[in-house]
């Protein structure tokens, strides 16, 4: 290329890319809900540590869980989890190889619904188990 080359390709900056399209904003939000999942994992981990430190620590951890701020936190985290679950199964069909049933390709919406149904069933089972253990 000679110095007289008139070409001067312009590269546009990427700063703030995720604010430029509602699709990307939603992407950042649903990826952000992964932090809710991580936060709850830490909460449970703290419980395991408390258990390891003896009965008193365990009981105070339980008491902490029952406090109003904790209940509020649980509510907020639950909302985050629900949105996370919803978006997770929405993207799932894009990540799977074609599933054939009777020679027909299973539709994306069917995969999403099956995933959501599985999440619901699993949640009910865990809840039932917890209720049984608590009684």
């Amino acid at each position: 290329m000679s110095a007289s080359n008139a070409r001067r390709p312009y590269k546009r900056p990427m700063g703030g890319w995720w604010r430029k399209n509602p699709y990307f904003v939603e992407y950042m939000v649903h990826e952000g809900t992964a932090l809710f999942v991580a936060a709850y994992a830490l909460l449970l981990l703290a419980g395991v540590f408390a258990l390891g430190r003896g009965e008193a620590a365990w009981n105070s951890w339980l008491a902490l869980l029952r406090s109003p701020p904790s209940l509020l936190l649980h509510g907020v985290l639950l909302l985050g989890f629900l949105y996370h679950t919803w978006t997770w199964f929405n993207i799932m069909p894009r990540t799977l190889p074609p599933i054939l049933i009777g020679g027909e390709r299973v539709k994306a919406t069917t995969i999403t619904r099956a995933g959501l149904a599985a999440a619901l069933v699993a949640s009910v089972l865990v809840f039932a188990l917890a209720a049984r253990l608590a009684s």
Binding site: A6, N21, F24, R94
Partner: protein
């Protein structure tokens, strides 16, 4: 009876390297009829207002893949996007995102062409075949395996939709992966081993964070995100299974 033409405002992000330090917006009031696409709006501007306006196009029927641009921030084929659907709002037209702008709406697409070459997008026979053996036969089931991925028209809208590509253009990206997948799935092809190193490399599939917008904007329902993500599984298998293979088994 023909309705009188209405007028729509088209704002074009212009870039003339010989005079503009950086791109500038220029607006035009364009009379249009119901059958006019954004591409035809641009042609009107070029014919009537400013002959220096540059943009690519060829087929005008959504098959050549030349006329992609950002229309109101969304990657679209300008020949199949109609002014009547955008009216009365102003239309903002800009060169495809994530690619360098050569001039006005024309992008530098060398990077994509290099990637296309790299993935060997053609059938690499499993074994040498003599002409006398005749043509390959393929059943409809065998064709169905890859047909969706063969619909790609190389319009690059998916790259303009991929923030990961925008942030790191060494990423192989959606359409190139869709084509890798298309040939790998073809029962006549034996080229997978030649394509695999690129797919599994640093520039390969794992740059994808499953944003999924590529598949959303694809005008041919190729679902390139699907090709990328299926190959993540393949890539992970390739990585981990090597530890299970007996020593020296790898070529």
């Amino acid at each position: 009876m023909k309705a009188a033409p209405r007028t729509i405002r088209i704002e074009v992000l212009r870039y003339r390297p010989e005079q503009d330090k950086e791109p500038v917006v220029q607006g035009f009031d364009v009379p249009f009829t119901d059958d006019m696409s954004v591409l035809q709006g641009l042609q009107y501007i070029k014919d009537e207002f400013d002959g220096t306006l540059s943009f690519r196009w060829s087929c005008r029927m959504a098959i050549c893949g030349s006329c992609g641009m950002m229309i109101n921030g969304v990657p679209k084929l300008s020949c199949s996007t109609f002014l009547r659907d955008l009216y009365p709002n102003t239309v903002r037209v800009e060169a495809l995102a994530h690619f360098p702008i050569e001039r006005d709406l024309v992008i530098v697409l060398d990077d994509f062409i290099t990637k296309l070459h790299k993935i060997k997008p053609y059938i690499i026979p499993k074994e040498p075949r003599a002409l006398s053996q005749g043509e390959y036969l393929q059943t409809p089931e065998q064709m169905a395996q890859y047909e969706q991925f063969s619909a790609c028209i190389n319009c690059m809208l998916c790259y303009a939709a991929c923030p990961q590509y925008g942030l790191n253009s060494s990423f192989i990206g959606p359409a190139a992966m869709a084509l890798v997948h298309r040939y790998n799935l073809d029962n006549r092809d034996g080229g997978r081993a030649e394509r695999d190193p690129y797919v599994h490399s640093e520039e390969g599939v794992f740059n994808c964070t499953a944003v999924g917008y590529c598949s959303e904007v694809c005008p041919k329902d190729v679902d390139p995100a699907n090709a990328v993500n299926i190959n993540k599984t393949e890539s992970a298998k390739d990585y981990f299974l090597r530890f299970l293979k007996p020593k020296g088994a790898q070529a």
